[in-house]
Amino acid sequence: MTAPGQIASFTRPRRLLSRLLRDSRTRIAIVVLLIVALSAVFAPLLAPYDPTAQLDIVRLPSQPPSLAHPLGTDPYSRDVLSRLLYGGRISLAVGLGAVLLAMSFGIAIGAVAGFIGGAVDAVLMRFVDAALSIPRLLVLILVASLWGSLGLVPLTLLMAGTGWFAVSRLVRAETLVLREREFIVAARALGASPFRILVRHVLPNVAAPALVSATLGIANVILLEAGLSYLGIGVRPPTASWGAIIQDGAEQVSDLWWLTLFPGLAILVTVFACNALGDALRDAFDPRQLPRGTDPTFAAEA
């Protein structure tokens, strides 16, 4: 057991940041995510062409990478680099938006269930159990195919609506542990109302695990969105998303390799960086964890 006084938290961002940046792999992950995010934000400035414009359907379909089109063009004669940049906006927006919503909802449900307990807890958690037992992709495919193809907002809502179950379980478990801690009893003994205890004392203490789970959740949603778009039931064409670009070249993968490789790399790099950051956050929040690369045998003497 560590002394509970050592739990890291949002309230010490500077220390957390320095713990995070200690590891070079984490620094790389952060830089990669920054590049991806910035290029998505500034896509209108960076993209050489309109991502949905069919440039010259007679002479320029399915061109391999060239100086004019660094990542080639797709069968509809659209510039892949431009589509990749704009597609990043969709993938990241859906990822961030869905995770943000799912987190808020999951934390609220989990904290309430864990804190109130009893019948409320039982009903909420049985619902979550049931929801967790249905494969997420199946639900997504079902709803998406019923709708035809989805707009951006419905897609985000759908991802969020199917993504909060695991978080609520995690937060509930944390809340159950916290509820028995002496500082919660102390807060009650000092006359704080249950609502105040929940907001002031429970939530800040579950923030750390929730943040870790959120970072990993973003990677998951990006993958799901790519998968849906690849199946042709994601964002509505001609909107570009990473999965949609791959789908456009899916029938001729061996000939049009640039349509698979570049968006595939973008997904890989982004998801990898998200996961790396999530792992690093988990380590940074846990003061027992030694910096990676430290020899544990001698660390105790340091």
């Binding site: 949002f10 309230t11 801690r181 009893v185 102390a186 000092l190 006359g191 704080a192």
Partner: protein, 343 residues
């Protein structure tokens, strides 16, 4: 005598567990006067802490304060208050100092924040006023550089400092009663005396009554005017401190006093009381101390002793009050005999 600040009458707090009903507090009555420091002594599991939590009505399911228990505080019936009225009492009129200063503070907030929170909850102060109040309280409990300390987190403070912070939190609203549940048990011996002195000094100055829960008779001797000895969910003896130390009546109190280490004591080995407290789901029918008592006889098995008046506010839950000559014939307690045959 004027009306006491706090009066407990027939307090019963039971826990409804899978293995039966644990009668943790089983008919406790005592009073704490204005400005008085009363000690509650007893070994682990005798119901001291549950009594403390009961006073603040902080007992949680499966625990329950039984109907018929009476707790009067400042003329109010605590049992009749609703939850929001009770929240107004907690931290404001009755405050609690916990045993573990490590765990009684929230790790993610600065100590200034946490002390100030009490003022924000009860006095409606804004953030700035509350912080100023926190700094003032830190100064009061003798923490150097209080402005700077207020911005620090619990893990940055030593154990003694943290307990000072916990005391500061308890005293923010200048409560009428402070319940200190083993306030020094988790601290180094060298710090213990400092903390007790601080608590005693501050409460004397502010006129606060203190209910000091401890298993350490030395702490009681130095700090309390009156002592309540608890055993197996009951009060077994109550007396003024000097009276208790000079003329302990209950064999359990005798045992506790005998188990105290003394400087210059001629005995090499520390005396112990054989056996342990019986399980609270199954208190024995007669005297609950019978198995561990060196004087017990047939009556102790058959008849649950009432609290006998010994005179001068001294009470004892022992049949020796009626048959004092039995004290001349001690025998090895049943628990020790059993231990011997088992070994």
């Amino acid at each position: 005598m004027t009306t006491p600040l706090l009066e407990l009458e027939n307090l019963h707090t039971f826990f409804y567990t899978d293995t039966g009903v644990a009668r943790a507090v089983d008919g406790v009555s005592f009073a704490v006067g204005v400005g008085e420091t009363v000690g509650v002594v007893g070994e682990s599991g005798c119901g001291k802490s549950v009594t403390a939590l009961s006073i603040l009505r902080l007992v949680r399911p499966p625990g329950r304060i039984e109907p018929g228990s009476v707790m009067r505080f400042e003329g109010k019936d605590l049992m009749a208050l609703d939850e929001s009225e009770m929240q107004h009492v907690r931290g404001n009129r009755i405050a609690m100092v916990f045993q573990e200063p490590m765990t009684a503070l929230n790790p993610v907030f600065t100590i200034g924040d946490q002390i100030g929170e009490v003022a924000r909850v009860h006095a409606g102060m804004n953030k700035r006023e509350a912080l100023a109040k926190a700094v003032e309280m830190l100064k009061l409990v003798g923490i150097p550089a209080p402005e700077q300390r207020a911005g620090e987190y619990p893990h940055q403070l030593s154990g003694g400092m943290r307990q000072r912070v916990v005391i500061a939190m308890a005293l923010v609203m200048n409560p009428a009663l402070v319940i200190a549940d083993e306030p020094t048990t988790a601290l180094d011996v060298t710090i213990q005396a400092q903390i007790l002195e601080l608590l005693g000094d501050l409460t004397r100055r502010l006129g606060t009554s203190v209910l000091l829960i401890t298993h350490d008779l030395g702490v009681v001797a130095e700090n309390c005017t009156r002592v309540i000895v608890m055993y197996a969910g009951e009060v077994v003896e109550e007396a003024a401190t000097s009276e208790l130390f000079a003329h302990a009546h209950h064999p359990y109190t005798e045992g506790l006093l005998g188990a105290m280490p003394r400087v210059g004591g001629e005995k090499d080995r520390l005396a112990t009381i054989p056996g342990t407290v019986p399980p609270p789901t199954n208190w024995p029918k007669g005297c609950r101390f019978r198995d561990r008592c060196p004087y017990s006889w047939e009556r102790c098995e058959a008849e649950h002793p009432p609290l006998y008046q010994i005179g001068g506010g001294h009470t004892s839950r022992c049949h020796l009050a009626e048959e004092p000559e039995r004290r001349q014939h001690p025998h090895p307690p049943l628990a020790a005999q059993r231990g011997a045959t088992a070994a």
